[in-house]
Amino acid sequence: MESSLGNLRLRWNLLRAIAAAIAIATFTLTLMTIPVAIWILWVLGLIIGIAVSTIALVKCDATWCRITLLAQSVLFAIALLSAISRGGPAEELPILLLAFVMILGTEQLLSLTCNYGAQFSLSNSASIMSFNIPTLQRSLDRLYRRLAWVGVILGAGYLLSVAIASMGSFLSPVAPALSDISVYVLVTSISLAILIVLREE
């Protein structure tokens, strides 16, 4: 019993550590796309990012998770605006895209950690003992599987986006107008398809 409880705690803490690392990596990646000239934003962003991500995952608290996501979104919006003001991200688009995908991933990770946090982050063993240990183990296995799923889907999404973006850059020397139109047409079709899928549901 004690060993399975210890194993459970170890796996849960490992998951939280990975989540914290991903959240901090997302902050760092987003900051990389912001011009170094705004150094104060760099310092502040990194400090705030590390602090809020750590607190969110130590506490497994929904409010702190939202604050983390809000901070990431604000930094990403700044990065995006600075890219727009420069006339485009040029070579930085894949990094910007990766930062966005990682924000989506962090969101999934934090929301799942918060949902499961109530049953795993119990401060004393007596509380965790009030559950069936096999049930908790199964829930944790399931959580790992879910996160793997999310990782695969977001990875596929990232690769697809990078491929389409590169296709646009391949087309631009040949037919600049066509490259723009192709992306617009593709995205608009996808958006319509999303609406149709949701309506079917």
Partner: protein, 423 residues
């Protein structure tokens, strides 16, 4: 199946990117829609969600809490479907005034078919009153939490938190009329007891241990000691919970204090074998007939558990006097617990005492702090305090008045006053 808030946020973000792309004529911005689109498409390809049959049973322990006691809730969840439930979010609804001390009322589960999972959580000593637990909310979500099916079970259960009881120790009470049953109240008649009453000539059959040898030697004939019989009295505890109890004159929760005091008093008097009844005047007007024993104590505590302050439709004078007349035998004891804020209270006590009832009044003491009040509030408070003092003095001429305070333990506070004995 409903879209979650997360899905709506994703869609908003996607369309915001398209809008920005059109606004700034920056086609590269539309690329950010693709990861979101992939997520939503992937979610639609996952197995469809169905509200599986789930049975949830709840056990509350104790169902009737004696106050200052944690309440443990155990939930047992059974998957009654032939399918594996991958992600099931369960949340047991709690009233806002109740806090979870340990464990959790919300969890995520994966349940194979027929599997039973149990979990429990502790509620941190809830306040006096009736609390409702449930219904249990069951949320089935997909892997990406973009779609959900919510079902609400109809498993609402109640538990009762009784007022806290303080041990008061033996109450030396004297009544003008005692009942025929043996108890602890001196009856001013010969009988079975411990206090010496008088000596009487020895009659064959008398217990030889009762022979008073000194008196027998002095009088030249055998005499025995007689003792004062100790019997029970009929007591009605009247609790005045009119809205005056919420007055700012009291620095503490006078309502809770009065209720706990009444509970402690009733408990001690019943334990001493007396026949005790209760009359409550407040938002809920109720009374409990005179009776003996632990079952009666539970009845009284149940009534006290749901006491709420407020004015009943009928005036207190009429209510109390009519309850006393209908359930209390003449010359019994009335214990009134009141904030003494209503002008009608002295008149009511006068009427009760004139009918021959022994009356003792308990009133919560008021605070003296005037900090944080402006001048007009200070003056108003002083006027209210002076009026209350006048009322108490008026009552003192008719009955015994004992001021009780939550800062001093009730037991020594009662022992300090001789008046408690001399009723």
């Amino acid at each position: 199946m409903a879209l979650t808030r997360k899905t709506l946020a994703y869609l908003t973000t996607a369309y915001a990117f398209i809008f920005l792309a059109l606004l700034f004529r920056a086609s590269w911005l539309t690329v950010f829609v693709l990861p979101i689109a992939v997520l939503i498409f992937a979610s639609s390809k996952l197995p469809k969600l169905e509200p599986f049959p789930i049975a949830v049973t709840r056990r509350i322990h104790p169902i009737r809490s004696m106050g200052d006691e944690d309440v443990e809730v155990t939930l047992t969840v059974t998957n009654r479907s032939p399918h594996m439930i991958e992600a099931l979010q369960l949340e047991d609804n709690l009233p806002h005034e109740v806090k979870v001390k340990s464990g959790t009322n919300r969890l995520m589960l994966s349940l194979p078919p027929g599997e039973v999972a149990g979990f429990s959580y502790k509620l941190s000593s809830p306040k006096r009153g009736t609390h409702e637990l449930g219904p249990t909310l069951i949320v089935f979500t997909d892997n990406l939490q973009l779609r959900s099916v919510i079902s609400r079970l109809s498993n609402v259960e109640q538990f009762l938190v009784l007022p806290k009881i303080e041990t008061l120790g033996t109450i030396d009470l004297k009544g003008r009329r005692v009942g025929p049953w043996p108890g602890l109240v001196p009856s001013r008649r010969m009988g079975i007891g411990t206090e010496f009453f008088e000596i009487s000539p020895y009659v064959p059959g008398d217990d030889l241990r009762r022979l008073n040898w000194k008196a027998s030697a002095r009088t030249g004939q055998l005499v025995t000691n007689e003792f004062e019989g100790e019997q029970v009295v009929d007591i009605l505890v009247v609790l005045d919970c009119s809205e005056d109890v919420m007055s700012d004159l009291f620095d503490y929760d006078a309502l809770e204090f009065q209720v706990e005091f009444a509970a402690s008093l009733c408990s001690q008097l019943i334990m001493q074998g007396n026949r005790v009844g209760l009359s409550i005047y407040g938002a809920v007007r109720t009374w409990v007939d005179l009776a003996f024993g632990k079952r009666q104590l539970l009845k009284i505590l149940d009534s006290l558990a749901v006491v709420k302050p407020g004015a009943a439709t009928l005036p207190i004078k009429y209510v109390v006097e009519s309850v006393i007349a209908s359930i209390l035998p003449a010359r019994s004891v009335v214990l009134l617990i009141s904030p003494m804020m209503a002008d009608v209270v002295p008149e009511m006590i006068e009427n009760i005492t004139m009918k021959g009832y022994t009356t003792i009044c308990f009133t919560p003491s008021t605070g003296t702090s005037l900090r944080g009040l402006n001048d007009s509030s200070r003056i108003a408070r002083r006027i209210f305090a002076a009026e209350r003092k006048l009322r108490i003095n008026k009552v003192r001429q008719l009955a015994r008045v004992i001021e009780v305070s939550p800062t001093i333990a009730i037991r020594p506070s009662l022992r300090m006053r001789n008046g408690w004995k001399a009723a």
